[in-house]
């Protein structure tokens, strides 16, 4: 039987939900399974509800699904919020000490949620307690696996004659993971190995955790029975890595030669910068070590200012930010456009407007990115659809920036950043480095903004002998000095803006759009919806329905003619996006001059699951869908 198993761990923020989930994901990956994990959390340091879903399969997966096969809960809130997601035949491992807790006892359960919960429990004639909701789960066909976490620790303390273990709630996450792995009959070896590697610098703590893990694992094997799922391992695919969300762009930056990154802390973008700084010294083939200079600035305005200053010296330079930070960068972005400065802004979008849902997902900033900055200037907006491709796309973005001497906005998002997935090991040799017309020496008189036949001037850099130039935010002449002359203005504007057509004509088609089949019904989408869309159309294919999918990566300038040619025989166009106004759809209509037949949108701040996309596509195929389908799954 093929394995498709979804595991959920939840708990208060700060209780080790994430590290527990990472252990679980690592163990599954090491047993040969494909993994797709995703973290959801509040904008909070300690106490609010955080959960992590890890989907495990023996074939390639690209998304989460609605149903949870096994949930492990060591707090009441997790049970209240997720009991109704457990699949028939699924299970819940939970702390039996929680059974009498009522929803009103849980102060982090907000009123809106409680109102819905109470209404539902009333309709089912159940008490507003953990026992009440668990009864419903049981009636739905889920198996319950109660165990006192406190009791487990007490028994372990007795067994090891180490009274300190009593009440060590910090270890609840390890207990939860171990109980889960026991229940699904996974061998404990890689669990213990994982723990060792996590606590490699603290052997004593590693030892205690290993004892607790073994104890809980054995408890589970001996006491939990009749769970129909066993994940005993599968053939491991070679060259597989387990990648965190920001690994694609961070490792991509290292490889493609980004040597300067300035940033201001913001969720969900800072992980990338912190990772770059943690690995600031770089190994270089046949050369002395290199380094990435990571500068934490006083604000995002300074981040982009520094980045431009660095880029002017010829160093490949970038920043990583999210919507509110990007908003602050827009004035300087125009300066970079005006001065033909190559730079890359990695934009990890989240849900807006303003602070919005600061730790939640959204593809809200596409139109903003395209239109960022006052005045007319060229830029590229390029979107990655998953972690693996974001590695290679990072290399492309830096090449585009150098070749066309313009700012590139690389669209990423929170869905990607808080995912952990198995994917093919990144291949650095597949990244090429093209610095465009960057000069290493200058002969004769130099004019930075020289009007050339192809519209791109040879580029000097600060400090280059004989390459003196001037920059200004004003309009300038070929040297870079201020001018307000109308004729020069026309020449310079035309020169800069000519790049947009050049890009559409020169960037290879497979870099502009990834095509996953074209059919009578074809989806257009962008960014991280890619994974759930691929899984959804795969499900439909098994049922005999063909649905095409264009993942548009180069969104600005928009590859109008290419899109038109791909869609010429398509009857129904479906736009799938994680934002309210279907922003790609607007760009599409403006350029392609064609209507979109159906929209599938989601703006709850939770990423799309393949289940919900599948369901809405099914409705569309059956002609039962609304023109605009709005998705809402996820706590």
């Amino acid at each position: 039987m093929p394995i498709d198993f979804s595991w959920l761990i939840g708990g208060p923020q700060g209780s080790g939900v994430e590290s527990g989930a990472n252990v679980f994901a690592k163990v599954c990956a090491e047993m040969g399974y494909q993994v797709f994990g995703k973290r959801e959390f509040y904008s909070n340091i300690k106490g609010e509800h955080s959960y992590f879903t890890v989907r495990v399969s023996d074939k390639k997966i690209h998304s989460n699904v609605n149903d949870v096969t096994l949930m492990v809960a060591f707090d009441a809130e997790t049970i209240f919020r997720h009991f109704d997601e457990i699949s028939t035949n699924g299970g819940i491992i939970y702390d039996s000490d929680l059974e009498n807790i009522a929803s009103d006892d849980v102060h982090t359960l907000d009123e809106y949620f409680k109102e819905r919960l109470h209404k539902f429990l009333e309709s089912k004639n159940k008490p507003f307690t953990i026992s009440g909701v668990l009864e419903i789960a049981k009636e739905n066909g889920s198996s319950l696996f109660p165990v006192s976490f406190k009791g487990l620790l007490a028994d372990l303390a007795d067994k090891t004659a180490n009274p300190k273990l009593r009440g060590l709630v910090r270890m609840y996450n390890v207990l939860g993971v171990s109980l889960s792995l026991g229940l699904i009959k996974m061998t404990p070896d890689s669990l213990l190995k994982s723990i060792e590697s996590i606590f490699s610098k603290k052997p004593l703590i590693a030892e205690i955790n290993k004892q607790a893990a073994t104890f809980a694992y054995d408890y589970s094997i001996n006491n939990f029975h009749n769970f129909p799922y066993a994940l005993k391992g599968t053939t491991k695919e070679s060259n597989t890595i387990l990648a965190q969300g920001h690994f694609g762009t961070s490792l991509g930056k290292m490889v493609c030669g980004c040597r300067f990154q300035s940033y201001y802390p913001i969720t969900p973008a800072s992980d990338e910068s912190v990772y770059l700084e943690s690995n600031e010294i770089l190994e270089v083939q046949n050369d002395r070590p290199g380094s990435t200079l990571v500068i934490q600035t006083e604000d995002e305005i300074s981040a982009i200012g520094m980045l431009i200053g660095s880029a002017l010296t010829g160093a490949r330079s970038s920043t990583s930010t999210s919507g509110p930070g990007f908003a602050l960068m827009t004035e300087a972005l125009g300066w970079a456009g005006r001065n033909e400065v190559p730079l890359v802004i990695t934009l990890y979008q989240r849900s807006g407007p303003s602070t919005g849902l600061p730790t939640r997902h959204g593809q809200d900033d596409l139109l903003f990115a395209i239109n960022a900055g006052h005045g007319d200037f060229p830029k590229i907006v390029y979107a990655s659809g998953d972690i693996e491709e974001s590695f290679y796309d990072t290399g492309r973005c830096f090449n585009y920036a150098d070749i066309y001497q313009i700012p590139v906005i690389h669209m990423m998002d929170k869905f990607l950043s808080s995912s952990v997935v198995t994917c093919k090991k990144f291949e650095p040799k597949k990244i090429t480095i093209n610095r465009g017309k960057l000069l290493t020496h200058v002969d004769g008189t130099y004019k930075r903004f020289h009007l050339t036949d192809d519209g791109i001037s040879p580029r000097s850099k600060l400090g280059l002998d004989g390459g003196i130039f001037w920059n200004t935010g004003d309009e300038s002449d070929e040297y870079g000095h201020i001018t307000e002359d109308p004729t020069v203005r026309i020449n310079m504007m035309d020169k800069r803006m000519s790049r947009l057509d050049m890009i559409v004509n020169q960037v290879p088609h497979d870099e502009q759009i990834a095509t996953f089949g074209i059919s009578d019904y074809t989806i257009i989408s962008w960014g991280s919806t890619k994974g759930p869309i691929i899984d959804a159309i795969d499900l439909l294919k098994k049922e005999g329905f063909e649905i095409g999918f264009l993942q548009i990566k180069l969104i600005h300038p928009f590859p109008t003619d290419y899109v038109k040619s791909l869609l010429k025989d398509v009857k129904i166009i479906i736009d799938v996006e994680a934002n309210h106004s279907a922003q790609l759809g607007k760009v599409f209509k403006q350029n392609v001059l064609r209507d979109i037949d159906y929209y599938v949108v989601k703006y709850t701040g939770r990423g799309m699951t393949s289940t919900e996309i599948y369901e809405s596509l099914k409705k569309i195929l059956e002609n039962k869908a609304n023109h605009r389908e709005v998705l809402s799954h996820g706590a």
Binding site: Q285, D287, S291, E298, I301, G305, M306, S310, N434
Partner: protein, 320 residues
Amino acid sequence: MALKLADYKTNVHNDWCPGCGDFGIVNALQMALAEMGVQRDKAVIFSGIGCSGKTSHFINTYGVHTLHGRVLTFAQGAKLANPNLTVVAVGGDGDGLGIGAGHFVAAGRRNVDMTYIIFDNGVYGLTKGQASPTLKLGEKTKSLPTPNTNYNVNPIGLAVASGFTFVARGYSYDVRHLKDLIIKAVNHKGLSFLDVLQPCPTYNDINTRDWYAGVDLAKESMERHSRIYKLEDVKFDPMVHIDEEAEVNEKLAQALIKSLEWGTKIPIGVFYQNEIVSQYRDRLVDKIPNYVENSPSEQNISQNGLPSTDISKILNSLEV
């Protein structure tokens, strides 16, 4: 071949108002660069927005005319990526102490080895004379509809409090003295700040050239009575000589007290200098030993179009 003063000048038309104090500053800056023999293509003048922002176009080195308030960010980025550049940032007092005040403070905390010169005239000239951060409370320059309602920023005090390690004030009509100050500032190892009093003949009818020269005071005393005096003439010692908290505190405090002098006696010269504080590059070298020799702008990133960075250790550690 030795470079002459003329080599540091461009032929760009200068459209500042006749009598503008900015001329003295740009002249002093060109003279300083010439006297130091700074290699033109290793020097970058960064400038902000406004009249003073045009400065970079008049100097024949690399010139980067940036955005309002952001000049320090661009300048630091360039210096960090290529620490071999000589970097001078210039801008108005509205630029640096109004819209850019956050960057001013943050730059002090870093102590990057470069120089920042503020053209301090108390008004926003290019937008027709609104009150700028250094205009005193209650003063009414001629374009203001009503007297200034804000207390003034003390640029010298703010600089020492923020961590600048060289803090001085010049006067744009004492070009020679200003030139010497610029040389000291550029030679200082760390972030140097120069507040240059610069009369705006068009919009500041209070702090005029005559006012600084004490013409109004002279009427009373019937003798020449310049408000400006030089700290070196009163044996003021701005230097932190020993690495002791008491010494540093004393020198900071005396700089702050001196900076509060205004009215009939206005000090110029060096208020504070501390070369004991580590430069930002030293802090970077502690983490990245070859940062200076192999800075971001110097690094070899590719061979035959392929990346030369080797991340195989990281990738192997991620393998499952």
